[in-house]
């Protein structure tokens, strides 16, 4: 009888919505912590975070950032990691413009100079257009979602309308 009562109580706790929610949240936080603590060791090429910790001169690196100035055969790229702003001088013949979002793969030299072997850039217009159409799509989605589902704060649950 006592065993049955214990079993029912444990089952009740385990199937409790709040218990499952916070359990999953805890797993998510732990996984997030594990990821942030280890991902730098598994990167294909060092990024800005690794470069700031241990400057790997002569190694191939992969960095991302915004173009802030363009010169002949080079451009200035800015990236940041935890408020540490880095300015890379990237040597490449690929055409980029100020404001472009750029991914660079190349060999890191002294004083944050990179000889690029591969570059991918997204123009300011393309990036802003992507954000704008995504925002509009989100508004349309929310409009339709509200037509079919409404959140019941008393039950803490979505209620189907149609």
């Amino acid at each position: 009888m006592t065993q049955l009562k214990l079993y029912t109580t444990v089952k009740k706790i385990l199937t409790n919505r709040a218990f499952i929610f916070f359990g999953l949240l805890l797993v998510l936080i732990l996984l997030g912590g594990y990821y942030s603590a280890n991902y730098q060791n598994h990167l294909q090429y060092p990024n800005t975070a690794v470069i700031l910790k241990n400057y790997p001169t002569g190694e191939t690196v992969s960095v991302t950032g915004s173009v802030i100035q363009v010169y002949n055969n080079s451009f200035l790229l800015t990236d940041a990691y935890h408020r540490n702003v880095v300015y890379y001088k990237v040597y490449s013949t690929q055409k980029v413009s100020v404001g472009d979002q750029v991914e660079v793969l190349g060999v890191l030299g002294n004083s944050y100079r990179i000889n690029a072997s591969k570059i991918q850039s997204v123009s300011t217009f393309d990036y802003k257009f992507l954000l704008q159409r995504s925002f509009i799509a989100l508004l349309i989605f929310l409009f339709f979602f509200r037509r079919y589902w409404r959140f019941d704060f008393r039950k803490m649950e979505f209620r189907r309308l149609k």
């Binding site: 919505r17 499952i20 929610f21 999953l24 949240l25 797993v27 998510l28 996984l31 997030g32 912590g33 594990y34 990821y35 942030s36 280890n38 991902y39 598994h42 990167l43 294909q44 090429y45 975070a49 992969s62 940041a80 990691y81 935890h82 408020r83 991914e103 660079v104 793969l105 591969k118 570059i119 991918q120 997204v122 123009s123 393309d126 990036y127 257009f129 992507l130 159409r133 995504s134 925002f135 509009i136 799509a137 989100l138 349309i140 989605f141 339709f144 979602f145 079919y148 589902w149 959140f151 803490m156 649950e157 979505f158 209620r159 189907r160 149609k162």
Partner: protein, 162 residues
Amino acid sequence: MPDWVTHIVVAWTLCRILSFKFKEFNAANTLIVITGALIPDIFKIVIILQFIGIDATDYFEILHIPTGSVIVAGMLSLFFPERKKAFLFLGLGVLTHYVLDSSLEHVSGGMYLFFPLNWLQWQLELTTSSDYMITLIALLIAGMVYIIGREVDRRRAIIPHD
């Protein structure tokens, strides 16, 4: 990421096609699938945090990894009346998101599809995030499915079955 138009449209198209065979893929449940398709991009909250001077990218990156997204889907499903069904619909949406994101090209790396089991990075290098041809193709296919769907519904109304 492909833009949210593509994510939403692909999820909707898939659900509309499945609705020809399965009644569960109605409008209300389609909206749950679309919600799932947007879950990994909750990660974009880091952009807002960066505006107020907080760089939490390392910690929030887990949301844009399949394991993290599935956990969030599990948490969200707790707020729907039929939890198991909601979880499956949200999971389907998450799956469409990663299929689309895997097609993106980066200069290095890719997505940690099997984190935390292994740190292998995957990318198919088919398109770039700013390529709106993908969006146009997705919209075109969705338009065709919409027209076919209307015809199917019309025929079903004339000749009801099961």
